[in-house]
Homo-oligomer: 464 residues x 2
Amino acid sequence: MANITKKRIAIIGAGPCGLSQLIAFKQAEKEQRIELICFERQAEWGGLWQYTALTGIDPCGELIHSSMYRHLWTNGPKEMLEYVDYPFEKHFGRAVSSYPPRAIMYDYIIGRATAADIHKFIRFRTAVRFVNFDVNTKQFHVTIQDLLNEKILEHLTFDHVIVATGHYTLPNVPNFEGISKFPGRVLHSHDYRGADEFVDKNILIIGGSYSAEDIGIQCYKFGARSITISYRSFPMNFKWPDNIKEVPMLIRMEGHTAYFKDGTSVDNIDCIILCTGYRHNHSYMAEPLRLYCSGNLFIPSNLYKGIFWSPELRLAYLGMQNQTYSLNMFDIQAALVRDVFLGYVKLPDDDDEKKREEDISQWQAREQVIAANDHEGFTDLQTDYIRDIVSCCDQNTVPKFDLERAKAGFYKFFNDKREDFITFRDQTFTSIFPPYNEAPPCQIKWTKNMDDSIEGYLSSIKTT
Amino acid sequence: MANITKKRIAIIGAGPCGLSQLIAFKQAEKEQRIELICFERQAEWGGLWQYTALTGIDPCGELIHSSMYRHLWTNGPKEMLEYVDYPFEKHFGRAVSSYPPRAIMYDYIIGRATAADIHKFIRFRTAVRFVNFDVNTKQFHVTIQDLLNEKILEHLTFDHVIVATGHYTLPNVPNFEGISKFPGRVLHSHDYRGADEFVDKNILIIGGSYSAEDIGIQCYKFGARSITISYRSFPMNFKWPDNIKEVPMLIRMEGHTAYFKDGTSVDNIDCIILCTGYRHNHSYMAEPLRLYCSGNLFIPSNLYKGIFWSPELRLAYLGMQNQTYSLNMFDIQAALVRDVFLGYVKLPDDDDEKKREEDISQWQAREQVIAANDHEGFTDLQTDYIRDIVSCCDQNTVPKFDLERAKAGFYKFFNDKREDFITFRDQTFTSIFPPYNEAPPCQIKWTKNMDDSIEGYLSSIKTT
C-alpha cells in the first residue's frame, strides 16, 4: 500500500453510516496516521436508531433528529443487513429472530461501535454549520458550533469531508387544500411516537410507502378505530385487516371530512398522519458542494458511484440512497471511501469527469425504467450496485457478503409481505453467512407482542 | 426635515412588528424616496397571529413559525393594544368586547395593513439566510433564498436592516430525567393546537407563565380529566378549578408517573406539555450583529433604547422585549426607527457608545429588582420605557396614547385575573381614547364559548 502523508478527515454524523466509516478508518489506523473527527449534533450515537419521546426541537434548539417510534420492529429481515464482521449471535450470545425490535437493533449497532473503540473520535453536541472548499489549498473549511455554548464557533480545516447525516430527518410536507384548517391533529411521521395515542381514533394516513404501511399496521395493532391510507400513485394492495382501507390521493379536507381523487370521502377523521417522506437537507454545505436530491433516487446526480462528489472527489456522501440494503451496504461504501481517501485504490475515472457522469447516467437510466412498486427490480439494481462498489475496493479488506443469498432473502421478504402483511414479521430467514443457520422464531406473534424491550424480546426467543 | 438621499431598507418579517414598521415608512414615502423590501418566510402576513393545524416543518422545509392554537382568545384586554390610528370599532363597524378571539385579532391587524397598502413591499416565501455588515462601505449584505425554488440564492445590499422576526417560534426545551422515555405524548406549547385533543386525559404542564396558564385553563374548558402545572420558581396561585393544581418543579418521569421537587408525585400522566417558553433565534445574523437574548429580558444587552444595535446603529431589532404592551408599542418603536433611519431625529448619544451602554445598564438595573411575578412592576417599567421612546421621536408624527390610562387598564386586568381566573375574559374595559367608551360584553361566558370564528363572535356581542 502507498505511503500517504497524514490526512485530516471529517465525518459529519455518528449514525449507522458515520459509525461504519469510523470503523473502516480505524482498521487502517495501524498503517498510517489519520486525524479523524466525527461531528455529531446529538448527545448520543446511533443516529435514527435512537428513540426519544420528544418531538419538534431538542434541548439545544436543533430539530429532533430521529423519526423513531415506540414499538418499531425492523421492517426487513435482520439477516439481510447483518454486519459481516459482527453477527447478531456474537453480540447477544444467542440467536435472535429475523425481525427484532428497535432496542435490539440499537444495542447491536452500538455494540459493534463500542467493540471497535471509536467513541473517542466523536465530538458530540457539535453541529456543523458550514462547509466550504478552497480550490487553491484543496482544503475544506468547516465551521462547527458547540451546542452547549451557542456562542462558540470554531473553524477547522480538513483534507476530506464525509457527509453521513442521513435523510430521514427533515419532513417532506405536501400541501393539501383545507389541511391547515383541519380541526384535529395533523402530524408528519417524523413526529409520530406511538399508536397508543390513537386508540379508538379514525386515522387518515397520507402516503404509500414504508412509513405509511408500518404506521398503518401499528395503528391497527394498538386499536385505532379505522385507518384510511391515501396513496399518490398506486395502492400498496396488501391484504389489510377490515378496518384498513386504501384510497386515492387526498384532494381536500373540509372539517373532519376527507375528499379523495376518486370522488369518495371519509367523515369523522380525528387525525391526519403525513407519511410523505423526507427531504435531503445539506444546507450547511456551500452551494458548490451541496447535494440536492429529491424523491427516492437511488443514484443521485453528482454522486459518482453513489458516493463521491463529482467533480470534487475529496468529498463523499454516505448512505444517501433510498435503500433496500442498509448496514452491510454502508460498510462497503465506507470501505471504498477509506480505500480511495487513503490512496489504497484509485477510483476508475478519477481524472475524467465526463466518464464519471456517463457512469452516473447509466445507473440512473437503469433506475428510471423500474416501476415504483417493483421492489424486486430495485433490489436487483442495488445488488448490482453493491457488486460494483465491492469491485472498486481493496479486495483484501472489503467486507464482502453473499449477494445472491441476500437478494433471494429480500425476494422472500417481499413475498411474505404480499402473502400476509399481518404475519410477515413472524417469518424466519436463514443467515447469508455459513453455516446458513435458520433464525429461531419469536414465540409471540407480532400482532400480539406488546413488549419491545430487549429483555422482553430475548425471553420470547426459543433457545435451542 | 433633512433632505436625505435614497435609502435601501430591509425588514425581516411581516408579522405585527414588520407591519408596524412598513406602515411607519409608508407614511414617510411622500417626503423622500425609500427602497423598502420586507422579507417573509411564510406565505401570508400576520406572523404569529396566523393559525395552521400543521406542526413541525412547513411545506417549504422551514420550521412552522406560529405557535397559535385553536380557541385562543386574547390574554389581555384589546383596549391596551389598540392602534392609535385604527380603532377596532372603525375596522369592524361596531364595538367589540375586550377579549376577542384570534380570528378577530388577525382580521384587525391585517385590516390595517391592507388599508395602508403595504402588501406590495413584501416578498413572501423568502427566507433571509445571512446578514453581514461591511464596515468600509457601511452596507449590509443580505443573502435571501426563494423557498419555492431552494436553489436560488440572491445577494442584496441595504443601508439599514430591521429585524422583526419575533421570538415565539423556537421552543426552549429544558431537559428532565426520564422524559425522553415517557410512554406517552410530549409536546412543546409551540406544537399545541387545541385542547380537544386532550379530552379525558391527565395532562402535565411544565411552566408557570402565560402559555401554562392559558393552555391549562383551555384544557379545563374542553374537558381534560386533570391538569397538573409544574412551576420552576413559584406558583401562579390563581383560584383554579378543582381539577387544576400547581406543583413544584418536575424532578423526573418514570413511566406515566411524575415526581416533583417537594417529594410528591402524580400517576397516570397521559401527556406532557412543555410551556417552557421560547428562544430568540437570530442564527442568520453574522456573529457581530447577532442578538443573544436568553430568558425574559425586557431590555436585552446591546440594544440601545431596546431597539438599536449598539455599536452599529444602522441595525434595529423590533419587538424583542418580553411584552406587556404590544401592538401600540411596536408602532412607537417603528416610529423611532423611521425617524432615526431617515434622519428626522438624532438619537441621543448616537456618537457615544459608552453613554448608550450606561442607558442600557440603567434600564436593566431597574428591571433586575422587579420580582418575576410582579406584573404591575413590569408594567410600570414598560410604561416608562414607552414614554422614553416617545420622547425620542418626532413629536409631530409619533402615535402617542394615554399611557396612564393604559397602565391603569393593565392593573385592572391583573386584578381581574387574581380575583377570578375563570371569568377574567368576561370583564370589559373602557377605551384609552376619547370618549373613553366602555366595551360591550360578550353575551356568552368565555368558559361556555366554543365558537371562536369571526361570525360567531360578532353575533355574540350586544350592539347598542
